[in-house]
Symmetry: none
Subunit: 304 residues, 2 copies
DNA sequence: ACGCCTCGTGAAAGTAAGTTTCATCCGTGG
DNA sequence: CCACGGATGAAACTTACTTTCACGAGGCGT
C-alpha cells in the first residue's frame, strides 16, 4: 500500500529545538553533528555565521544548508533568527541541572532527583507544545466513532498502550491491548473500516508494532502512530502521527521521560474522547470508581 | 579617528527596543526612520534583509548599517538576531491555564492539552520538590543491598509497580511484581530480613496493597510506601514513606498526573540504585538494549 | 557674501555570507 | 564486479552586508 501519511510533519509551533531533536535520528551523520551543536547551545549557534558553524561541526557549509532544509527552514538566516528567538524564550536551565544530559557520575541523590524531575517535566511540557491539536482532534474523532480500538506497544511502550486501553475501556469504548505479537496480528487482521489501530513506539522502529499496524491499515482501519521521531518507519504506516518530545538521555535506558510524554498524549486523547460524550463518560467513570471502592480501607484523613 | 560613537553603547539592560527608542531623538533623520520601523515591529524587522529594511525606510543600506552602529551593534546580522530574541521574549503571556482544576465543559482540544500538560508537569515538579532526599537515600540503600525486592500495586499503580520491577530487573536486581493479590501474598510471606517490599497506592487506601505490605513487614522485610497522601493507611505499615504531589482533578479518574508523579519517584530510585554500581548497571543496560536491537527496523530515515 | 569645514547621505565598489552545482566517495545490492 | 543511490565537500555562484567615497546641504568664521 502506497498510502502516504495524511498529515505533514511541518507543524512545529512548540520549540524549534524540540522539533530538531525529534528529527535528529532521521538526519545524515554530518547533519547530525550540526544538529547536536544547535540543540546543545541554540544561542551560541545563532551567533555564528554559517561558515563558522560548519567548521565547528567539522563539515561544509553545504551540509549546514541541507540541515536547515531538513528541519524545515528556508535557509541559514531563517534558522538563525528562529534559534535566537527560541533561545531567548526558554528560561535558562536551572544552573546545576544537566538539561537533557546524563547524570554526572558524582551526583548525590538530591541532584539526581532535581535533574530527573526537570527533564521529566520538560518532556511533558514540550510534548504538549508541539502536539498538533488538529491532528489530535481527528484522532479523537476516529476513536470516538470507532467500532473497536486496537492498541499496540512493546516493552516500555506496552505499559502506555495498556494504560490507554484501560482508560478507554473505563469510559465504555471497546478497546484492546495485546502483550503478544501473534495475538495482536490476529486481532489486526480482524479490523476493518471504522476501526482504529494505535501503535506506540518511542523510537518508531519497533518492527513488531510496525508490522501489526501495517496489517491493521491493510484491513482498512484508521492507523495512528505515537512516537518520538516524526520520520521514523512507523510513521509510514500511519494515517495520523502524534509525536512526543523527549530528549532521552543515554544512560537512563529506563526512558521514563519518554514514557511520561507518551502518557500525557494518551491522557489528552482520553480526555478528548471523554469530553465528546461527557455525561456518558462521567457515568461510566463513576461506576468504575464505585466498583473499586470496596477494595479501599476507610479513613484517609489527610490534610493537616 | 574623527568618528567616535555617538553614545556609549555599553549595554542596554532594559531591552533592546527600549534602548533604541531611548536614543531615537539623538539619531539622524534617516536613521530615525529606520529606528521607528524597528521599534514598531521588531519581529518583522528581524525577518527582513538589510536591503529590504533600507527600502522600507526609504534610505540606503549604508544608513541602516550606521543605525546598527549607533545603537551599539556590530552590524546588521547582530541587530537582527537581537531583535528576534527580543521579539520572542515579549510575547509570552501563557494565558489562563486552569490550574489544578477540572477541564471546563466547553473546552476545545488545544485548551485540554494545555491544561493537562500543565498539571502533569506541575505534579512532577512538585513531587520532586517535596521528596526527601534522605528518605530516598535510605530506600536506595535498602534496595541496593536487598536479597530480593517485591513490588506491589493495584490498578493504575500496578503499571508503575510493574515498571519499577522491570527497571530493577534490567540492572540486575532481583525484583518481582505480582498482578494478582494471592500470588503477592504468597510471595510476601516468603520475604525476610534484608529483603525489601514496596507498596504503591495513589490513595494509600488500597486494601490489597496494604495487606500485602503488612505481611511483608511481619516477615521482617523493609517496607516502603509510595502514595500521594502522607497520612493514609498504607503509611502505617511502611518503614519509609515516599509521597507524590499530584492534585488530582475530579473528572480525570484516569489519574495520569499521579501516575506520572509516581513514575518520576520510581525513576529517581532507579537511577539512585543504578548510580551505586555504575559500571555494572551500565553493562546490564547495554546488554538489554542490545537484546531488543534485533527487533528494530534499521533506517530511521525518510526524505521529505 | 564667500569659501571652507562638517555632517548626513546614497551610489557604487568591495567583501563576506549564504546558496547551488557538481564531481567524488562510499556502502549496498544485484 | 559493477551499477546505483545517497552523502559529502569543493568550488562556482548569488545575494547580503559593509566600506568607501563623492556630493550636497547647512553652519560659521573671515
Amino acid at each position: 500500500m502506497a498510502k502516504s501519511p495524511k498529515i505533514s510533519a511541518s507543524h512545529e509551533p512548540g520549540g524549534l529545538i524540540v522539533h530538531i531533536s525529534g528529527l535528529l535520528p532521521s538526519l545524515s551523520p554530518a547533519e547530525q553533528r550540526v544538529a547536536r551543536l544547535v540543540v546543545s547551545d541554540p544561542a551560541a549557534a545563532a551567533r555564528r555565521t554559517i561558515t563558522d558553524l560548519a567548521t565547528a561541526a567539522e563539515t561544509s557549509e553545504a551540509t549546514v544548508i541541507r540541515f536547515c532544509r531538513s528541519v524545515g527552514m528556508d535557509g541559514y538566516p531563517q534558522l538563525r533568527i528562529r534559534l535566537a528567538a527560541e533561545a531567548a524564550r526558554r528560561i535558562e536551565p536551572p544552573d546545576a541541572r544537566v538539561v537533557g544530559g546524563d547524570i554526572p557520575p558524582g551526583a548525590d541523590l538530591a541532584q539526581i532527583i532535581a535533574t530527573i524531575a526537570f527533564n521529566d517535566a520538560r518532556a511533558v511540557e514540550e510534548t504538549a507544545e508541539q502536539l498538533d491539536p488538529a491532528v489530535c482532534e481527528q484522532v479523537v474523532e476516529a476513536i470516538s466513532g470507532a467500532g473497536r480500538i486496537d492498541i499496540y506497544g512493546a516493552g516500555a511502550s506496552g505499559f502506555v498502550a495498556s494504560d490507554f486501553q484501560q482508560k478507554l475501556h473505563r469510559i465504555g469504548r471497546i478497546a484492546f491491548y495485546f502483550p503478544d505479537v501473534h495475538t495482536a496480528l490476529t486481532s489486526a487482521a480482524l479490523l476493518g473500516r471504522g476501526d482504529v489501530a494505535v501503535g506506540i513506539s518511542h523510537t518508531g522502529t519497533t518492527s513488531d508494532v510496525i508490522e501489526v499496524l501495517e496489517q491493521a491499515r491493510t484491513r482498512g482501519a484508521v492507523t495512528v502512530a505515537l512516537t518520538n521521531f516524526p520520520r521514523s518507519p512507523i510513521t509510514e504506516v500511519a494515517d495520523f502521527v502524534l509525536t512526543t518530545a523527549a530528549r532521552e538521555t543515554t544512560y537512563r535506558s529506563g526512558a521514563t521521560a519518554s514514557r511520561l510524554a507518551q502518557l500525557t498524549v494518551v491522557d489528552c486523547l482520553f480526555v478528548g474522547v471523554a469530553a465528546r460524550n461527557r455525561s456518558r463518560a462521567r457515568k461510566a467513570l463513576e461506576a468504575t470508581a464505585e466498583a473499586v471502592q470496596s477494595h479501599r480501607v476507610g479513613a484517609n484523613r489527610r490534610r493537616a
